[in-house]
Symmetry: none
Subunit: 226 residues, 4 copies
DNA sequence: AATGAATGAGATTTCATTCAT
DNA sequence: AATGAATGAAATCTCATTCAT
């Protein structure tokens, strides 16, 4: 991984800074092009030549920014996971203290990130086998970390007596999966549901399974599907 | 799709029948080898040479039974979907009349099929882009049909007043996804859960979300996770 | 060349004779099928499997009658050349003594053989490179022999003073070529000419170049094109 | 057909021009190599590996310049037909106004082009079946156009009363065929005739068939064979 | 920093030929 | 005599990667 866009170096020399900015912009341009074309065709079907054409640069340039095809693919996937890492905690904090509100905010944030990177999400499922073991391990590790905010709010809810005493890790993964499903099975859901409907229905269904019976009245608004 | 294993022709001439049986056996042998090696390595990464080596036949022979790599992959995937089509309805019928029992039996049967073809299930997610449009459409169509038994038992349960009035199609797809997750996220779940735990936990969670509150006592056995 | 059809052995034992007849029939069947399908698709494009299918026999059987693909192709071509060897001299003898009549009869016979084996004639041009050196040499040799009747009648005509003193070998080859052209450029000529027109026009043109000026009146019938 | 050598674009940017020139040179190099090796062995028998080896480049490079084997073959053949299109009209114009002189000049020019591309001419006969329908149609179309200068001078000659009133299209095709024969049957003619002899003999023979009897004296020089 | 021509290993696919039945 | 399943060498074509400019 040699992409300047993915490490956090911050040179102080203004020349270097300018160069760094240009590099970051290039890197983003390449990443976007790669995501666009891979998502369109499936990454194995996409040649470096095609990515270069989509980004309107030469093949050689890609190798300046990414060590090779595997690294490029890895960077595309990591890009999504980073979006989770920044978006979800922010959404949870923004919503206040009620544990069920926080849970819903977290789930909704997951779904929004997925919706932003719908095709790249599919890539994660489809292409991980074409990475080396190190890359796969890194993605799995980050995916697990990605669920932590959910696990956290679930624990809070259980401790606060708002949620039933479920296995927070399994439930968190279930919710992540349902969010992924918006991308994975989009061809199916889009026939009947818009994004908002999907999120609201899934929230209602999940909360029916999770909220303590005696707390139901309090969250009636979230429990009703329509 | 020229595989004799996938059509149900049954010639009456004993010679032809013997030949048909030999062909079906070959077909199965090749399919198994393909599934084994594709699941191990990811189908794009797997050459026809590798499949041939795994099956201990020559490359050329694969082309006698399957028109090419795409057809072979398609056959591997269809093989799983056919297992659903036979196993799930049988399990539902075997369990009796109670709608919640039937729902649980259906879900459990899905999970068992997935567990039998864990790697081939992953293939479905990973490789569908390498099929042609017709193949993809066929798989999607069969996948949708595959959910129908679940949709059916959900409707029965709702009509009988045992389940809350949820959207049966969305819930069915959610349950299918949770079953798929046993394959897709096996690397994660296997750290903490065996197959039985996974099924029981998911059943408990799902039923908490689905069963009519006033029917809870009746299904306490299924609602408890451990 | 193991084809029984192409050597002249004639067994005296009636059993052997029956077998020989059956073999000859098989041989002819295969040859016809090969010619048909090769002519349709171009011999290189035609697999032994395709020939077998066309002849409605198994691939293995072809190898019983012809040593391999090269021999089969060679046999198809030789078959045409044999037709020349029998048809042309017969036509020349049948027409009488006039040297110009004999020339015309020979040319017309060539054209008729070509018309009978139009596609196989094209094969001779197209596929000779796929034969081994021995096969090519044999075909060239036979092709040269094939022109001999024409050379012969040209010589007779010159000696008799009916034809101008041209180079008989070159003229013979020219005439053979014009006959071949009926097959080679059939796509062109068929737009404007039927077989009879083609032959008559070419006869007229050739005789204008060949007949002694003072003999013209005598052959006016042949010299007029329409 | 992506060969830069075959379209006439002329970029004004000097960098692009230089690149274009390099590409055209490469294209020509590959075309020459392909012609050389195909002519030597027969195009079906020739692998892309062999062409690459002959041109001393890698296989992959051929695919940058020609879309595949068919296009390469097509380009080799078109190359010859283009030589006709430029050489023959020029030769006709260079010789002056006499219709018979023009006819002879045209025929001689045909023969010279054929002699320059002797093996590629054979290719046209041998390999057209391995092209797709569009390619075959294009070649036939160009071949017909190629005869037009001959048709034209024949018409002029007939109109001027120098030639007998023959069918100019058929005669033109005959002459083209006789020119082709120098390539097709070179193995035969080279035993007795050099290029000059061949052309002179054929001219003499053809003119005997074509020139108006009362104009013979005027063209005695061309009518004598030696 | 950027280009894109060039490479060549490797993938899929075909098919002449063999051989057990 | 006849079959056709099986083989495997060889062909076409792709594309990740390199490197001279």
């Amino acid at each position: 991984m040699s992409s300047a866009a993915l490490d956090g170096t911050m040179p102080s020399d203004p020349d270097l800074a300018a160069r760094g900015a240009r590099q970051q912009q290039r890197s983003r341009q390449l990443l976007d092009a790669a995501a666009r074309v891979m998502e369109r065709e499936g990454s194995q079907a996409v040649s470096m030549q095609a990515v270069a054409a989509e980004a309107e640069v030469s093949v050689g340039l890609i190798y300046r920014y990414f060590g090779g095809k595997h690294e490029l693919l890895l960077a595309v996937i990591l890009n999504v996971l980073e979006d989770f890492a920044t978006t979800v905690p922010a959404a949870v904090e923004a919503v206040g203290d009620d544990p069920v509100d926080r849970l819903v905010a977290a789930f909704r944030a997951y779904c929004e990130v997925i919706d932003r990177h719908r095709h790249a999400t599919v890539l994660t499922y489809r292409e991980s086998k074409s990475l080396d073991e190190a890359g796969r391990a890194r993605i799995k590790q980050l995916e697990v970390e990605t669920t932590q905010p959910l696990v956290q709010v679930l624990r809070e809810g259980i401790d606060a007596g708002a949620l039933r005493p479920v296995d927070p890790e399994m439930v968190a993964y279930n919710l992540l999966l349902v969010a992924h499903a918006w991308a994975l099975k989009h061809w199916y859901f889009e026939r009947t549901l818009g994004f908002e409907d999907y999120v609201r229905n899934q929230v209602s269904l999940a909360l029916h399974g999770l909220v303590e019976p005696r707390q139901r009245r309090r969250y009636a608004r979230l429990l009703s599907a329509s």
